[in-house]
């Protein structure tokens, strides 16, 4: 294992542990408002300072990490899974099915899904638990984000379908659904992993944007997306650079994942 990989593992381990142990290691609950210490700079009591409502930033960061690390990959996984299924099916079966899926992709990519999200919000009761509403958000994002990747997967599946090793698999007597599932999907793994990792940060950010529609993470629950949105008041960052902490953590997580993923691919 190279040094970079060691560092990557270490970082991931630290971030995951810190998030998992958030409730124990932070000085205060993420929603506790220290109203006399608003926008406080980092101190012993609040290592990353406090936010506009006097809430401990470190606590919010770690709890937000919990939410985002759990749900964004889940959404990315869902999207990738759907893309894999649709793409493989289209690329594998070809013919009218391919044609139909192509059309559905085209449709999916051009419809104003925002309104569906709004409709879902309207259908939900207003007082659903914050976590439920976040989970629903991510689920919807995942369920809607498959079309673009599906096209890519389809192209890959096409190429693989005609490859020698698929022929081998056929020669070995595989047939029916086993063929695409056991032989095509593994072949598509690089495409799918790439897809997966690219979409994780996109989902994190999409969640932040959805808060605007009332479908994201709601007060007082934190999430990376919501914390990243604080960066929108740029001049404030100049004076309180610790606002960047969530971005740094996200970047470290992503960078580590890239390094580890790269290593995995080289092995493969």
């Amino acid at each position: 294992m190279s040094l970079a990989q060691r560092i990557a593992w270490l970082l991931i381990a630290v971030i995951v542990t810190a998030a998992a142990l958030a409730s124990w290691i932070v000085p205060a609950s993420y929603d506790r408002q220290f109203r006399d210490e608003i926008q406080a700079p980092p101190s012993k009591a609040h290592p990353l300072g406090t936010d506009e409502l006097g809430r401990d930033r470190l606590s919010r960061l770690l709890h937000g990490t919990q939410v985002s690390l759990l749900l964004a990959p889940a959404a990315a996984f869902l999207a990738t899974l759907l893309a894999a299924l649709a793409g493989t099916l289209a690329g594998w079966r070809g013919g009218w099915l391919d044609h139909a899926l192509e059309s559905v992709c085209d449709l999916t990519m051009s419809l104003p899904w925002m309104f569906l999200l709004l409709t879902v919000r309207a259908a939900l009761p207003l007082d659903v638990a914050p976590m439920t509403s976040v989970a629903i958000t991510f689920f919807l994002l995942g369920a809607l984000g498959w079309a673009g990747p599906a096209r890519v997967v389809r192209a890959g599946a096409r190429a693989l379908r005609d490859s020698d090793y698929m022929l081998m698999a056929r020669a070995q007597g595989y047939r029916g659904w086993r063929l695409p599932v056991w032989h095509l999907l593994p072949g598509l793994r690089p495409v799918l992993t790439a897809q997966f990792w690219t979409s994780v940060p996109l989902f994190i950010l999409a969640e932040a944007n959805l808060s605007l529609l009332g479908l994201g993470v709601v007060e007082p629950m934190p999430s990376w997306g919501g914390l990243l949105k604080e960066m929108e008041s740029l001049p404030a960052i100049g004076r309180n650079p610790w606002i960047l902490a969530p971005a740094v953590v996200l970047l470290m997580t992503l960078a580590s994942l890239y390094v580890l993923m790269g290593a995995k691919e080289e092995e493969a």
């Binding site: 409502l53 709004l118 207003l126 009332g214 007082p220 008041s233």
Partner: protein, 538 residues
């Protein structure tokens, strides 16, 4: 240093022959309509304010009606008729003369059935039509279907149009006229060469050569452009941006004191709402509402959400409204003991730290608010914690505006709503639709066939009587009573009045912001952009 300079500058006026420069500021949305009679929201009203000539102008500083195109007026027929004596020798911006026919034409347009705007609706207090008749070339009489108290104030919003056949864009009576409109981008107003007003030294107003209104939604960017010197003025500045500016350029930050726009919260008491019976009982109880009100730390809302640039609110009228403010009402103090007492008297009790009602239902409700408003989101979070302290579980749900409106006006699927109201009219008649129980804008329980409660019936009565009398003293007494009932019953929990904050470049002279619309440029015809200072800034 800058401050001192400003004091000197404020007296300085442009030297004869020198232009007053171009004033640049931002509109926060594309105006819905540039037709002055249709103006209904802030952007359109801004354009109307800057371009339109009116018969009577409410002086934004003194809050009194002053003669404008009308030299004088007289109200007769118990408040149904108003007769104006017009100024003579006034020309439209295209040079054509202004006369009684223009006023008659304007009111004929205003009475048109298709026209749906606040300016028009203000005259539709009863069935029937408004009719205007020219008595002479310089005198007009206008007859209303029913008496209106404070009638003259309505004319502040009525732009006088040129009589039929002339271009609406080119012929205006206000200090500026539209010279260029790039939809979605900007509106350029140029000086009206035939504007009738002159300053004390006899120099023609306005001083400014032009006003450029850039359409700019984002507040951060507006601030950024201000710092760069690209715009000269910001109205209704966010507290956060104000603080930043005050720290860095104290001479540019102006605080005109509490505005007229309250932040308020109310519970859903609508008849047709799908709420469970026990929630209706909570929200319908005065004790419950008062208890909630006493549990909220208004000082914290002002201090934290508004960074101290707001004042705790007691009622629907802020102290900025000099005449109608009810000085006897004080904002409700944070008093958890009193709140608990009130709750106990209604049969509420605590299970552990959680509040439950008589039937054992845990007290939990959601507050909806419009998404994208940072200050309101902060208020909601503060309220959430405040109410959490007495064992109430509050959920905050930000919704986009149409969804929110649908819930509060159609489906009534909500528990409580946190919203700010825009109050442009000083007169209580402007709030008539809010207080009449039969009205659709009676938010907590709209469109009632008959008043649901005795106190609502009393408000109805008081509002009607204040509108029926012309005696300002008696009107004030009635409306003070309305304010007191509202304070006692709290159908609306008034939280804070945010301050009217503004930013103005040092190059601006005669900048005197007020709390009332249009805050910074109410005296636009007298503002000067000094080119020397503007250059040195760059």
């Amino acid at each position: 240093m800058i401050r001192q300079f400003l004091l000197v500058a404020a007296l300085a006026l442009p030297v004869a022959g020198e232009g007053g420069g171009t004033l640049r500021l931002c509109l926060r949305s594309e105006p819905r309509s540039l037709h002055p009679l249709e103006a209904a929201e802030e952007s359109s009203e801004t354009v109307r304010y800057l371009t339109a000539g009116v018969l009577v102008r409410i002086n934004r500083q003194t809050q009194r009606a002053e003669p404008e195109l009308a030299r004088s007026w007289k109200i007769t027929d118990g408040g149904r008729r108003i007769t104006f004596q017009l100024r003579e020798g006034i020309q439209f911006s295209d040079g054509s003369p202004f006369g009684a026919q223009d006023v008659v034409y304007t009111f004929a347009e205003l009475a048109s059935d298709e026209l749906r705007s606040p300016a028009a609706d203000a005259f539709r207090t009863a069935p029937g039509r408004v009719s205007a008749k020219a008595l002479s070339e310089a005198s007009v009489t206008i007859l209303l279907p029913a008496p209106v108290a404070g009638l003259e104030r309505l004319f502040d919003a009525v732009a006088i149009l040129p009589r039929a056949g002339r271009s609406l864009d080119r012929s205006v009576l206000g200090p500026f006229r539209i010279s260029q409109h790039q939809p979605g981008s900007f509106i350029l107003l140029e000086r009206n060469p035939h504007y009738w007003k002159k300053d004390s030294s006899g120099r023609k107003l306005p001083y400014l050569d032009a006003v450029r209104l850039d359409i700019q939604q984002n507040r951060e960017i507006e601030m950024l452009r201000f710092r760069r010197g690209e715009i000269h003025m910001i109205n209704k500045l966010d507290p956060e941006l104000f603080e930043r500016l005050a720290a860095e350029e104290p001479g540019s930050a102006f605080n005109a004191g509490p505005s007229m726009e309250p932040e308020q919260m109310w519970f859903n008491q609508a008849n047709g709402s799908p709420l469970p019976e026990y929630k209706r009982a909570w929200f319908g109880s005065r004790n419950f509402r008062n208890a909630i009100s006493h549990s909220i730390r208004r000082q914290d809302l002002a201090r934290i959400a508004f960074l101290g640039r707001a004042a705790a609110a007691a009622g629907p009228v802020s102290e900025a409204n000099q005449y109608w403010f009810n000085r006897q009402l004080k904002p409700r103090q944070h008093d958890p003991k009193l709140a608990k007492r009130l709750l106990v008297s209604d049969g509420f009790r605590w299970q552990g730290s959680k509040l439950v009602d008589r039937g054992g239902h845990p007290v939990q409700f959601s507050i909806i608010t419009n998404s994208g408003n940072k200050t309101r989101a902060k208020m909601a979070a503060l309220i959430q914690q405040d109410l959490g302290e007495i064992g109430i579980d509050v959920r905050i749900t930000p919704l986009d505006f149409p969804s929110l409106i649908e819930r509060i006006s159609r489906t009534f699927q909500y528990d409580a709503c946190l919203l700010g109201l825009v109050n442009v009219d000083l007169d209580p008649n402007g709030q008539m639709n809010v207080w009449l129980s039969s009205s659709g804008n009676h938010q907590w329980n709209p469109n009632q066939k008959s008043p649901a409660t005795a106190w609502e019936a009393e408000i109805d009565h008081l509002m009607r009587s204040q509108a029926a009398t012309l005696d300002p003293e008696r009107r004030k007494k009635h409306f003070d009573k309305v304010q007191r009932i509202v304070w006692e019953q709290e159908p609306f929990l008034y939280l804070v009045y945010k301050n009217a904050l503004a930013a103005a470049a040092p190059s601006l002279r005669n900048f005197k912001p007020v709390a009332m619309f249009p805050q910074g440029f109410w005296n636009a015809d007298q503002i000067v952009v000094s080119s020397t200072v503007a250059q040195s800034r760059r």
